[in-house]
């Protein structure tokens, strides 16, 4: 019944609009826009241009505080950030110029009776310029982009990388470290049973020393190579502060690597982070919630079911010494499963 009520309200609003506009304009003789309409809409278009500029500038200045910290937490992320800044700079220049031209021309050449439009159908010279210029600019972007992509994707250059498997499922993350041999034991859904929740093949000689965890700890300055698996549907492992993301796909292992460069403690002291969390805590206090402090997070970025929006794992970046100490305190799979 309520739905019917709302439909009736919409109907009444629609009818009101209908009746209102019935009183306006239907008797107008001109079928194309009149000079007065051109004038009003020309000015309004100039206003819309202003609105677009205003929105851009306001969003850029006011919105900065909500963004991720400009400090990338990984070495590879620094390259990505440089590329981002260059691309964004280019986008803004083109956006400012083209939008100005669109709205200014619309205003300036708004129709009047005396104006004669120009028959100007072609100019090979002009077209050549605006074909060649984007081509050259894009070539630079493409080359720089591919160089960055190759850098980020290249996992072969790491000396003594730390190997971690991240395992995705509806709706949580698990992980295991490769242990002393730095080799992960085989895993398959067929082996999931009881507390062997990641389906590790315990008969594989590399499995026993693997270390299962529910919170990721990473050492600062050492390359980490992640192997991702999923047990049910597609998930996506997204760690925005490290500029890292890759899908977790059932039936296959995907991998990604980065070198953490900023510890959690250091990131908490970063100016952008502080500004963002001050603002967040101000809001939280207003709402009677407890204050929070910054933590790195692993989120799921691929629709994976009803609780997709809840799926997360805390990530802690530490000095290597502290990390090693923490790792030693963790139990191996052999200790967890066999006991």
């Amino acid at each position: 019944m309520k739905a019917l009520f709302f439909i009736l309200i919409f109907f009444v609003i629609g009818t009101a609009f209908w009746q209102f506009f019935k009183l306006l304009g239907l008797t107008k003789k001109d079928q194309v826009a009149t000079e007065k309409e051109n004038d009003i809409n020309g000015w309004l278009m100039l206003g819309l241009g202003g609105f677009v500029y205003g929105l851009m500038l306001y969003s850029m200045f006011q919105g900065r505080v909500v963004l991720l910290p400009r400090l990338s937490a990984s070495l590879e992320g620094e390259d990505i950030d440089n590329l981002f800044v260059i691309t964004m700079g280019l986008i803004l220049v083109v956006q400012f110029i083209t939008q100005f031209l669109i709205y200014y021309f619309t205003f300036k050449y708004r129709g009047t009776k005396g104006r004669k439009a120009m028959f100007y159908a072609d100019s090979h010279k002009l077209e050549m310029w605006w074909t060649i210029t984007p081509t050259v600019v894009l070539s630079v972007l493409i080359i720089y982009g591919l160089w960055t992509w190759n850098n980020v994707q290249d996992l072969s250059d790491a000396e003594n990388p730390l190997i971690i498997e991240v395992y995705a499922k509806q709706f949580q993350w698990e992980a295991r470290y490769a242990g002393e041999d730095n080799q992960l034991g085989l895993g398959h859904v067929n082996f999931i049973k009881g507390i062997n929740t990641m389906g590790v093949d315990m008969s594989d000689k590399n499995s026993a020393d693997d270390i299962p965890v529910r919170e990721l700890h990473l050492p600062k300055g050492r390359k980490v190579i992640f192997k991702f698996r999923s047990q049910d549907v597609m998930h996506s492992a997204y760690m925005p502060h490290f500029r890292a993301q890759i899908n977790c796909v059932p039936g296959m292992v995907t991998s990604f690597g980065f070198t953490p460069t900023v510890t959690t403690e250091e990131m908490r002291l970063n100016e952008d982070t502080k500004a963002k969390f001050d603002a967040i805590n101000e809001l939280r206090v207003e709402e009677g919630k407890e204050e929070v402090e910054f933590d790195y997070l692993l989120l799921c970025n691929k629709i994976c079911g009803a609780s997709h929006y809840n799926m997360q794992m805390k990530v802690v970046v530490q000095e290597e010494e502290d990390f090693n100490k923490w790792l030693k305190e963790q139990k191996t799979l052999a200790q967890v499963i066999n006991n």
């Binding site: 304009g25 278009m45 929105l55 439009a117 980020v152 859904v189 039936g251």
Partner: protein, 590 residues
């Protein structure tokens, strides 16, 4: 076909099972509008959830029933709404509603043909579209909930009914509806291609076709190439869901048991899906760009600048669009070399797109712009096409995509470039060709108000959305409450929602204007906008066969606006020269 107008038509053959392209165009438009109302209404409901995640709204309970008990929608319902909203808007409104309407209306009229090559096939294509729309609409009401794996329906989520409630009957209906939709789309596209190639009137060389026709023609070709691939994906997915095959599934443990699937790959589905999914962007955009070309040129009273470059760029965009699908898959874990290839091909699309944008701007330059609603929407289209297109540079660059993939940044980007731009193109088309469809004029004041409210709210919704994406917020999150780091995005979400509701509600103005003007609008003259193209030589009153006598012959291209003779005076003393006017002595054909 020349004796079409002698047929005696009954109500059923004239209005329901019509084979007249103009009637079929109207059927497409009104079905598309109905689906559009549902799609937009859904977006307003889930925007309420995003802006006020903890509050109750009786409107939510009223419309969503058990899925919105206590005035708050469930996560399942949220997923369902975003899924069906995306599906409806992409396929049923912007593909069929836009391309189906204007290809049908304009191809025969602008090339000088009595009808489509096959009127019967054309009728069937509409009725299949209607059937698929009906199934998609009814799928909203099934007891397990509508399909909710996102409009991209990636398996295994879409393949396993136990993965979420929306992967049950709702998903089956989604697939059936899409399979029928694709059949309809292929019939339509083949008809458009054959008609353009074979039924052009005397003198209508390919190089004299209006850009609308070029856009529809190339769009149809992309559709024929890529839609069957999605059909194959949908059929294989039906097999996986219902007959135990493993095309897209492997090694799955769910609900406490290991499933039997072996050796398949969800990534294969993504390749098949995006082989249509990406060209689909241009299946939507190119018709809108074609309409914009026509409307801007007519209302600027100037030739479209760089006609040949415009055709070249349409072809280049169409070709490139079929070899860039992998940029949707940069983070799937496919071989990084493929990522490099797709970055290269994707970013190349910026070149023909830039050519188009600059050509539009130059067409505005030194024109005598008639700022009627169609023209305003066309200029708005160019503006949003550029704003949305530019951020594509970020998403198309594999290294940058890593950090914004599947965030709200993507949502902002594609809504501006293919949602809003295409809708603006569609509105421009409706305002411009309404006199041709109904012999009446739409109300201008309502049109102006509609444009201003829509334009402001479009930018108000999608500009700030980029920022919540750059802050790392994933798309399709029902609520941000599990992550305090997103707490400060809530106020931006509220602003977006307010603009979304203004934008959504203001579409009532358009609907009221549209339906009101059909019956009460001022009677249109034969050529109200003083256009050059052939449709304006046809009589205002509809007749099957379009022209009462001979079809006019074509002697020139479509853009002879404000052409002057050697003395600098307008040819014939008017600022337009229809295509049917022979070249005069001393006049050079462009």
């Amino acid at each position: 076909m020349s004796d079409h107008h002698h047929h005696k038509e009954t109500f059923v053959t004239k209005y329901i099972f019509s084979q007249d392209h103009k009637m079929i165009a109207k059927q497409y438009l009104i079905t598309g509008m109905f689906m559009g109302v549902i799609g937009v209404f859904m977006s307003m409901l889930f925007r309420l959830q995003l802006a006020y995640p903890d509050q109750s709204f009786s409107i939510i309970e009223a419309f969503l029933g058990k899925w919105g008990e206590g005035g708050q929608m469930t996560p399942d319902m949220y997923m369902g709404l975003v899924t069906i909203h995306g599906t409806i808007m992409v396929f049923f409104v912007l593909t069929a509603g836009l391309s189906g309407t204007f290809s049908n209306l304009l191809i025969p009229l602008q090339i000088g043909a009595r009808d489509m090559a096959s009127g019967f096939l054309n009728m069937i294509s509409y009725w299949l579209f209607f059937l698929s729309s009906l199934i998609m609409f009814l799928s909203i009401f099934v007891h397990t909930g509508m399909a909710s794996a996102g409009w991209t329906i990636y398996p295994p989520l879409s393949a396993l009914p136990q993965a979420m409630s929306g992967s049950g009957l709702g998903m089956t209906l989604w697939l059936v509806s899409m399979a029928i939709f694709i059949a309809s789309s292929l019939m339509g596209s083949l008809n458009y291609i054959v008609t353009v190639l074979n039924l052009r009137t005397k003198g209508m060389k390919m190089t004299r076709l209006p850009l609308t026709i070029w856009a529809f023609f190339i769009t149809a070709i992309i559709g024929v190439i890529s839609f069957p691939v999605l059909l194959s994906a949908a059929l294989l997915l039906i097999f996986d869901r219902s007959f135990g095959t493993s095309f897209f599934l492997s090694d799955i443990f769910i609900q406490g048991e290991v499933l039997h699937y072996k050796g398949g790959s969800p990534i294969l589905f993504e390749h098949l899906f995006w082989f249509l999914g990406h060209p689909e962007v241009y299946i939507i955009l190119l018709p809108a760009l074609g309409i914009t070309s026509e409307v801007i040129s007519t209302n600027a009273r100037k030739p479209i600048f760089g006609y040949r470059a415009m055709i070249g760029s349409i072809m280049a965009i169409a070709f490139l669009s079929t070899i860039v699908w992998g940029h949707h898959m940069f983070v799937t874990g496919m071989n990084p070399f493929l990522g490099s290839v797709f970055t290269f091909t994707t970013l190349l699309i910026a070149i023909p797109s830039a050519v188009k944008a600059f050509n539009y701007i130059t067409t505005l330059w030194r024109g005598n712009l008639q700022l009627n609603p169609a023209m305003l929407f066309s200029i708005g289209m160019v503006s949003t096409f550029i704003t949305g297109g530019l951020t594509g540079l970020i998403l198309g660059d594999s290294a940058l995509d890593i950090n914004v993939h599947d965030t709200m940044f993507v949502v902002a980007h594609f809504h501006l470039v293919m949602g809003i731009s295409a809708l603006f193109g569609m509105f421009a088309g409706v305002y411009h060709w309404f006199p041709k469809m109904y012999g009446k004029m739409m109300n201008k004041d309502m049109g102006y108000l509609h444009f201003w409210l829509t334009a402001i709210s479009a930018y108000g919704v999608f500009f700030p959305m980029h920022f919540i994406g750059l802050a790392g917020l994933p798309r399709r999150y029902y609520s941000n409450s599990a992550f305090p780091m997103f707490d400060d995005l809530l106020h931006i979400n509220k602003v977006i929602t307010v603009f979304a509701i203004i934008g959504g509600v203001s579409q009532i103005i358009f609907l009221a204007n549209f339906f009101f003007s059909i019956s009460k609008g001022k009677k249109a003259s034969q050529n109200p906008w003083k256009g050059n193209t052939l449709e304006w030589t046809a009589p205002v009153e509809h007749m099957h066969g379009n022209w009462p006598g001979e079809i006019p012959e074509v002697h020139r291209w479509a853009y002879d606006y404000s052409k002057t003779d050697e003395n600098g005076d307008l040819w014939g003393g008017q600022d337009f020269t229809p295509q049917s006017v022979p070249i005069r002595d001393g006049e050079e054909e462009f």
